[in-house]
């Protein structure tokens, strides 16, 4: 049981030592994993705290500097706090229903989906798996908030990595609701087609990349444990109760949905607060002012997409407002990158993936959508 020891591992370095340096030496099933060296753990923890305090201090300094040097003191500060609260509530209230929907789907998957079916019907080879993952959004129409609990549950059911990643990145766009909202905002045209095609392509490419990874170097220990057990049928974590009465199965599903919701809501709240903080500290006008040119416009729109953290079901209407100001490539990059990764969804990824992998999940779509946006601007027209 290769993931067993990871449950208690607090340090990424230890994971790497375990799986990369000595992959051939698996610890015995019931062995006691040696604890992390206390000095390394302490240093790491100190560093983390120091970074957090420094960032918080920088944010508070920025707010106070803005209030007392550029603004008119306390009233200005009060106004900024109000802005923060308004934006935070806006993002959270917009995302919460989708998270509830995703959690319910997750609970239903846990109880009603047989993990052997996943094993039997879903492809294993890299390309077909990524393609299947990219198209799964049409079956599970969820936005970027709802997709996270679904993917976590599917991983616990033994879903191959590449399918899950492609699904995670593509589902917020490749689903009927978002396709319709994009169509109603932009009509049948290059932006509509570009959003769907490039979202799918980037999701498939990133999904294929993850076919080279092993679950234990990607997933969090708890998820990995369940995933491994599911794959190897070692232990049933699936909550699949085929013989139980239907009512009991639904109760079980909704209990699990509740657990999922509260688990994910922590990340959603922190992510929404971060997004609101960024929007309060970095005014949109500052970004819009520098957003010209074929490259810079794409970067600015990606930054906006990341900071604004708008739900993919409605972001097309927001993008429409930018259509006259920004290049077409930048608008498409906004529509492709935003649903894949934003502040709140990045935080939610931390409930499934290791931090290093979350960084990959941000940087890979960022780079590929930047490439797409710049190519669009320089070769198709701005």
């Amino acid at each position: 049981m290769i993931c067993a020891g990871l449950v208690d591992l607090p340090d990424l370095a230890y994971n790497r030592r375990m799986f990369v340096d000595k992959p051939q030496v698996a610890p015995p099933t019931d062995s006691v994993i040696p604890p992390t060296p206390p000095t390394a753990s302490l240093r790491s923890r100190w560093l983390r705290w120091l970074l957090t305090v420094l960032l918080a201090a920088a944010a508070i300094t920025a707010v106070f500097y803005d209030a007392f040097v550029n603004g008119d003191g306390l009233p200005y500060l009060y106004q900024r706090v109000q802005t923060f609260v308004t934006i935070f509530l806006g993002i959270f209230i917009e995302a919460a229903p989708f998270l509830i929907a995703g959690s319910i789907v997750s609970g239903l998957i846990a109880v009603f989906v047989d993990q052997s079916a996943i094993d039997r019907y879903l492809p294993k080879a890299a390309l077909p798996a990524a393609l299947a993952g990219g198209a799964m959004g049409m079956v599970f129409p969820v936005c970027e908030c709802g997709v996270v609990p679904v993917v976590r549950r599917l991983y616990e059911k033994g879903l191959p990595l590449s399918i899950g990643i492609a699904f995670l990145l593509a589902a917020p766009v490749i689903n009927p609701i978002v396709i319709l909202s994009t169509y109603s905002a932009f009509g049948w045209g290059s932006v509509f087609v570009g959003r769907i095609v490039f979202s799918f392509l980037i999701a498939v490419v990133v999904g294929m990349l993850f076919s080279r990874a092993r679950p234990e170097e990607v997933l969090l220990p708890a998820v990995c444990q369940a995933h491994h057990d599911a794959c190897c049928a070692v232990h049933d974590h699936s909550h699949h109760l085929p013989s139980a009465p239907l009512g009991q199965r639904f109760t079980q599903a909704f209990n699990l949905a509740g657990d999922d919701f509260f688990d994910m809501a922590r990340y959603l709240i922190v992510g929404s607060m971060l997004a609101a903080g960024m929007q309060t500290l970095v005014p949109q006008s500052a970004l819009l002012a520098v957003g010209q040119g074929p490259v810079l416009s794409v970067i600015v729109m990606q930054a906006l997409a990341f900071i604004l953290s708008v739900c993919s079901t409605v972001d097309a209407f927001l993008a429409l407002a930018f259509a006259g100001t920004f290049t077409t490539g930048a608008v498409v990059a906004f529509l492709v990158f935003g649903p894949m990764v934003d502040i709140k969804s990045s935080l939610m990824f931390l409930s499934i993936f290791q931090r290093r992998v979350v960084a990959y999940l941000i940087v890979l779509p960022l780079m590929l959508s930047l490439l797409m946006g710049v190519w669009w601007n320089l070769n198709l027209g701005w």
Binding site: F19, L209, R212, V374
Partner: protein, 466 residues
């Protein structure tokens, strides 16, 4: 441990993909823009014939232009002119195109868009201007009809004038007023019906009139073309329980001629107006405002408004290339009244009396020369030895200086003049007050030499065509 060795195959793959994407991005940026600024449309279109000699050459791009971009038009045969950049359009305003001439236009590469994209290759296109003709109205079969007559290149005796060609049939109604497109010479005219309403018709040079707008029981009149020949503003009077359409108050409507799409000019449906005139950049209009009793000035983009009171009741044409217009206004000088011309700048909010503060004159029907440097107008002197009952044609500079009469025949009343596209001649009608057989006739006048040439008789309200 070497940090590179701590990376798994997966990590290395991700890093490799990121580096590859970064390299590709670098190559894309290094290759630069492969599309360039795109030309969407050119006016006049490539290969078009019978183009008006008053045409402005307009190139529309796929994005707004940098206002400071160098835009260079060259014409063969050469023509001087000004370049104007507005939004996504570059317009060349020629000083004078020659009639019946084939032109080759070249727009040089390097035109820069607002976001840095440039026109990669020069664009070349050709068009041919039409023959210079006069259009005027004449009574025929009991109705006022439109006719076209060629402008002779040499002096022709009245008896040898070619017969004018009718431009419409009597079943289209009786012409109330008309306007010639500055781009392609198309004519929009309003024609009275038997029931007292009037519809708008459009006719291209050499073509058959087509109904442009069926106004039903309403009375549509005073059409005015935008300088790009795309839009038309006209006045519409609705019939009501209290009176026929023709006597009810007018409201301005705007029409996209190609699509026929209509909209009111003002959001406020109670606002009245007629006799609109477009500024050169098509952003402003002047109009006669019956409810305010004066000239209204309105910015079609921003909705900005100004009002200048006058009871003279004449339209106010804009100076070419400027946001200034000329209007006339009644003045009380002692116990007498006079009508003076004023140059008005609605942006700077200035008014300059062009007629002279104490001049005992009645000035009106001012028209700008194509280069915007001269104003031709009608004047009658009301006091002193030169006083006449009839209107004479006069000329003065845009600032009111160098005013001089072009006609001095006190027995003939001269109609409103119209400048030839090359700015050398005026066309107008003469109304003799004496004589056994009073006939209104159409004449041209060479501004430089004062030489006059009869074009048609009878005929009135002439304009140059195209």
């Amino acid at each position: 441990m070497n940090p590179a060795r701590r990376l798994s195959a997966f990590d290395l793959t991700v890093i490799g993909v990121l580096l590859g994407a970064a390299a590709l991005l670098g190559v894309l940026i290094w290759r630069g823009d492969q599309v360039g600024l795109q030309v969407v449309a050119m006016t006049p279109a490539d290969g078009s014939a019978s183009v008006s000699t008053r045409s402005q050459l307009t190139v529309s791009f796929d994005q707004p232009l940098d206002a400071g971009s160098a835009v260079r038009f060259t014409l063969d045969p050469p023509v001087d002119g000004q370049v104007q950049i507005i939004g996504d359009r570059a317009t060349f305003i020629p000083q004078a195109l020659q009639a019946d001439t084939a032109y080759t236009v070249r727009l040089e590469a390097g035109v820069r868009g607002a976001n840095g994209r440039t026109l990669a290759e020069a664009r070349v296109w050709r068009f041919t201007t039409g023959r210079t003709q006069a259009i005027f109205t004449r009574s025929s079969e009991g109705r006022e009809q439109l006719f076209v007559a060629p402008i002779p290149s040499e002096t022709v005796a009245p008896g040898e004038l070619p017969t004018p060609t009718p431009l419409m049939q009597s079943q289209q109604g009786s012409v109330w007023d008309y306007a010639v497109s500055p781009v392609d010479g198309r004519i929009v005219f309003s024609a009275l019906t038997e029931t007292g309403s009037s519809n708008l018709w459009i006719v291209a040079p050499g073509g058959e009139p087509q109904l442009l707008l069926d106004c039903g029981v309403d009375f549509c009149s005073s059409p005015s073309w935008s300088h790009d020949g795309e839009l038309l503003i006209f006045a519409r009077r609705n019939a009501s329980e209290f009176g026929a359409a023709a006597v009810n108050p007018p409201r301005l409507s705007i029409m996209h001629v190609a699509s026929g799409e209509l909209a009111p000019v003002f959001a406020d449906s109670q606002k009245l107006g007629f006799e609109a005139r477009w500024s050169s950049d098509n952003r402003w209009i002047t109009y006669l405002s019956p409810d305010f009793i004066g000239i209204g000035v309105y910015n079609l983009e921003s909705g900005e408004e100004r009002f200048y009171p006058t009871q003279a009741g004449e339209s106010a044409p804009w100076q070419p290339g400027q946001t200034r217009f000329v209007m006339n206004e009644q003045r009380i000088l002692g116990e007498r009244s006079a009508i003076h011309l004023f140059l008005v700048d609605p942006i700077a909010d200035t008014r300059v009396n062009l007629s002279g503060e104490q001049a005992m004159v009645e000035d009106g029907a001012a028209v700008w020369s194509p280069d915007g440097e001269w104003i031709a107008f009608r004047r009658n002197i009301t006091e002193g030895p030169d006083a006449t009952l009839t209107k004479q044609l006069w000329l003065m500079r845009a600032d009111g200086s160098d005013a001089r009469p072009l006609t001095t025949d006190a027995e003939i009343d001269h109609g409103p003049p119209s400048w030839s596209p090359d700015g050398r001649s005026l066309i107008f009608h003469k109304f003799p007050l004496k004589g056994p057989d009073i006939v209104i006739s159409v004449w041209t006048l060479d501004v430089e030499t004062g030489e006059q040439q009869q074009i048609a008789s009878p005929g009135q309200r002439p304009q140059w065509l195209p």
